[in-house]
């Protein structure tokens, strides 16, 4: 009980920006609080009742005063709005080159997995100075991933992916909380974010996982029976996947949509929702039969073969380099037609 911190540490590029805005609001709030308290105090003493028979002269009001004390606070508040909106946009818009890490919330733990395969529970290791994008899903209820030292938080919502990003600035260990009430052990759903020097992080990454997320995903691709139909090479009853991720898909109803994380997810869980032009709605749903973790690995696999306009089987077989998956969506114009057969064979397993 000998600790009494009064202000959280600043450990991301966002921390100081949020704090500066916080100080601005505090300055405005302090000004009005002090002004009103002084008026109350002075009036309370000066105009205390001395003679019970004295009836003060009523003052009906003043439009000039009313206008002043409406417009001036509104102006100060509009600065808060603009500044806050800009910051919010930045907080929720990951840079293109961000390194992607996957997060799954479940009652009551955080599971994280790096593209190269390392898995952690209630821990997250990240390098200093590099933008990190977290793609997050939940196995059950709503959770919220919160790192106070980074001044960043995002809800993880069932049935969809949410994302957040940060660039850590100071090596160290920082608290990780679940901020959205999620049941019995909500307060036990906490952990640590470890920020490391880039060299240390590389060392840490290289010790551990035997296969990358994309490799695991490729195995799942067979296990769940996806491969029997979605062959990557022969167009059959189902559209092949090579080059799909990040491309624009033509649907049977005429819409054109971008094949992103949400689209891939929906196509697995609710395949009838969007049918690619030229195919029949024959795929069964995988809702309730596939865990969020496996879903993310399948996504990683589909991403990994979607990012190369020309298949490069060797690269995938040897495990994608760290940071390749999810780093940048493939350029849209460079993607292949999903219906066009590709030439080379599937990567060996």
């Amino acid at each position: 009980m000998n600790e009494l911190p009064l202000f959280p540490p600043q450990a991301s590029t966002m921390s100081a920006e949020v704090d500066n805005l916080f100080f601005y609001i505090t300055a405005v709030a302090a000004f009005f609080t002090v002004a009103i308290y002084i008026c109350l105090g002075v009036f309370a003493v000066l105009y205390r009742r001395r003679d019970p028979r004295f009836v003060p002269r009523p003052i009906l009001g003043s439009t000039i005063l009313e206008t002043t004390w409406s417009v001036v606070p509104l102006g100060l508040a509009m600065v808060m709005f603009g500044w806050g909106a800009k910051l919010y946009y930045d907080q929720y818009t990951p840079p293109e080159n961000a390194h992607e890490i996957f997060v799954i919330g479940k009652q009551w733990m955080w599971k994280t997995q790096h593209p190269s395969g390392q898995r952690e529970i209630n821990e997250l290791h990240v390098p200093v100075g590099r933008p990190i994008k977290l793609t997050m899903a939940t196995q059950d209820v709503i959770h919220s991933f919160y790192i106070p030292a980074f001044r960043i938080k995002r809800d993880v919502i069932p049935g969809t992916y949410t994302s957040m990003w940060f660039t850590a600035t100071k090596p160290g260990r920082y608290r990780l909380f679940c901020a959205e009430y999620c049941g019995t052990s909500h307060s036990g759903m906490i952990g640590w974010v470890t920020v490391m020097e880039p060299g240390d992080f590389e060392n840490w990454l290289s010790g551990g996982a035997s296969e990358s997320m994309a490799q695991s995903g490729e195995k799942l691709f067979s296990q769940y029976g996806c491969a029997s139909c979605h062959s990557n090479d022969q167009p059959g009853r189902c559209p092949p996947f090579r080059g799909v991720y990040g491309s624009t898909q033509q649907l049977t109803d005429g819409r054109r949509i971008l094949a992103d994380d949400a689209y891939i997810r929906e196509s697995i869980l609710n395949p009838q929702a969007k049918i690619v032009a030229g195919y029949q709605p024959i795929m069964p749903t995988y809702q309730g039969q596939i865990s969020e973790e496996d879903l993310l690995r399948l996504l990683a696999y589909i991403k990994s073969i979607g990012q190369r306009p020309q298949p490069a089987s060797e690269g995938i077989a040897e495990g994608p380099a760290r940071g390749t998956m999810g780093a940048t969506p493939a350029p849209r114009e460079a993607t292949t037609n999903p219906q066009a057969p590709t030439k080379t064979g599937r990567p060996p397993r």
């Binding site: 405005v28 105009y47 009742r49 009523p58 003052i59 909106a85 919010y88 019995t184 052990s185």
Partner: protein, 543 residues
């Protein structure tokens, strides 16, 4: 204010609404608005004690970082039930159903509300909802948070969710009927000469509150019905596994529950406007702005619900619109504070108990309101959302604001309600204790929140310990502050000296009938020929 009635009515007829009839039946089947107000007073006080007991256990658990007093499931049920009981069964009905019920018809110069039987029905609905909720508590409680967020509440929680939800659903109708009754009463029952621009500010704020109750509460009922439909028939509305959207629930919930904040605080504004004027003997500065601000808040209150959802999947641009509108609602609240302060200027201020509560209210509401700016500012809200910063903010509004105003109002109208005077020294002491205890409880929570301590945590990291000890210490002082009025007000009911008709030398029709008032309020409909707050008139001239 001048009324055309027999001035000596009070002396001639000592029969009043309390002694006109006797027996339990005369209370349970009464259609007298004053007796129904007493029924509400007893029941909201009981619920306040229940909710306060939960708060006490919560603060005791948080005295140490480890979760060692109760199990986490119990803790989760404690804060859930604390929220549900305090919001739906204390704060929402407190000022409107107790003080409003008692005072509104008299303030307007009317015999009763427009629909006296509907008024009694409101109380019964409230009690049925309350008893269902208490049954859920005794059966094991509900642990979803008062927000009932899906899919936790619909799929994962094994507590008594549906019973509680039905309790809240039924109580909602009580709120709707009370609102409807007040709106019709305000439109049709005003005494001759009591024009809209002469109406007491308490009436304006309750009128605005009633609009929200009638328009907003049905949406909560719809949300609860949809949860029931999903649970019973498996229709995918909120559950993504069935094709629903959990964030849709949050939209529906906050569409009611943000305006519900104004249901709780607008009546408080009305009480404070009355107290500030009567204890400074000065007409409000800027009557039209203060009255208009109430209506503006009622309207704007419906447009800002998305600011509870900045961290969800709500689009960034939708969030910006909600943030923008949220700053606008700060202005009418600020106008009220400035006008109350300006009213004191050159006044003749006396410091009896109600006025101390009123000044305490302004002091706390200023902090509560200004800390709302941090939450409306999206970039900062991302950090403090769902932390103790939010807990501190809304307790400043709802406890520092609404509860202090309710206590101030109870102390102000107590002589009228009970016909007895309470010891003013004890009253002033209680106001001081409440103010000190409140600040010690909730100021440290702002720091905790910015440090990042999430709300609804049963156990917490050690670095948050010291501030939590302050908070628990403050809560025990606050508890004493609440206990004092309970004791001396009950004492005064039986043993207090008789109250005169107008102990505060106040204006307003309610001070021109005897204390306690006769069942019929006025012997003949009064005629209003002056503004409500004409303190310059001699007392003798008025009655």
């Amino acid at each position: 204010m001048r009324i055309a009635s027999q001035p000596t009515y009070a002396e001639k007829v000592p029969i009043n609404y309390l002694n006109a009839e006797h027996g339990l039946k005369s209370w349970l089947l009464t259609v007298d608005h004053k007796r129904i107000a007493i029924l509400y007073l007893l029941s909201v006080t009981a619920f306040f004690l229940v909710g306060g007991l939960f708060a006490l256990l919560i603060r005791l658990e948080l005295l140490t970082p480890q979760g060692d007093l109760v199990r986490s499931d119990v803790y989760n049920r404690l804060f859930t039930m604390h929220g549900i009981v305090m919001i739906f069964f204390f704060l929402i009905p407190s000022i409107p159903a107790v003080l409003g019920n008692f005072i509104i018809p008299i303030m307007l110069g009317a015999r009763d509300l427009a629909f006296p039987k509907l008024n009694l029905l409101s109380w019964y609905l409230y009690m049925i909802g309350g008893i269902l909720t208490l049954y859920a508590v005794l059966a094991g409680g509900v642990g979803t948070g008062w927000t009932f967020y899906t899919p936790y509440s619909t799929v994962y929680s094994n507590s008594h969710v549906m019973v509680t939800a039905i309790g809240v659903f039924i109580t909602g109708f009580s709120s709707i009927l009370t609102g409807l009754n007040f709106i019709v009463t305000t439109h049709t029952m005003r005494a001759p000469g009591l024009t809209w621009s002469r109406m007491p500010l308490f009436m304006w704020s309750l009128y605005a509150t009633s609009l929200i109750q009638v328009l907003g509460t049905p949406v909560l009922a719809i949300a609860i019905l949809l949860v029931g439909i999903e649970r019973l028939w498996g229709v995918g509305i909120f559950n993504p596994a069935l094709g629903g959207d959990p964030v849709l629930f949050q939209h529906l919930f906050w569409f009611y529950s943000h305006p519900a904040v104004y249901i709780m605080v607008l009546p408080a504004f009305g009480v404070i406007s009355e107290l500030i004027q009567n204890f400074s003997k000065k007409r409000i500065f800027g009557y039209k702005f203060v009255a208009g601000a109430s209506v503006a808040i009622a309207v704007y209150g419906f447009l800002v619900w998305g600011h509870h959802m900045f961290t969800t999947t709500q689009s960034v641009y939708a969030g910006m619109i909600f943030s923008f509108l949220s700053f606008f609602i700060a202005i009418p609240s600020a106008i009220k504070v400035f006008n109350w302060t300006a009213t004191l200027y050159q006044g003749s201020i006396s410091y009896q108990t109600p006025m101390l509560y009123a000044i305490g209210f302004i002091g706390l509401f200023v902090i509560g309101g200004l800390t709302g700016l941090y939450l409306a500012t999206m970039g900062v809200d991302i950090h403090v959302h769902d932390t103790y910063f939010v807990v501190a903010h809304f307790h400043f509004i709802m406890v520092g604001g609404s509860v202090l105003a309710y206590l101030g109002g109870i102390h102000y109208w107590w002589p009228k309600i009970s016909g007895k005077m309470y010891p003013d020294g004890w009253g002033r002491f209680s106001a001081l204790v409440v103010f000190v205890g409140f600040n010690l409880t909730f100021l440290p929570q702002f720091i905790l929140g910015y440090l990042g301590m999430p709300r609804r945590y049963h156990a917490y990291p050690e670095e948050f310990w010291v501030l939590n000890v302050f908070s628990t210490a403050g809560a025990s002082i606050l508890g004493v502050g609440y206990f004092l009025p309970l004791v001396y007000l009950i004492w005064s009911w039986f043993y207090g000296p008789e109250a005169p008709a107008n102990p505060w030398q106040a204006r307003g029709l309610e001070w021109q009938v005897p204390s306690p008032p006769p069942t019929t309020n006025f012997p003949a409909p009064p005629l209003v020929t002056q503004e409500t707050y004409e303190y310059s008139l001699e007392e003798a001239e008025v009655v």
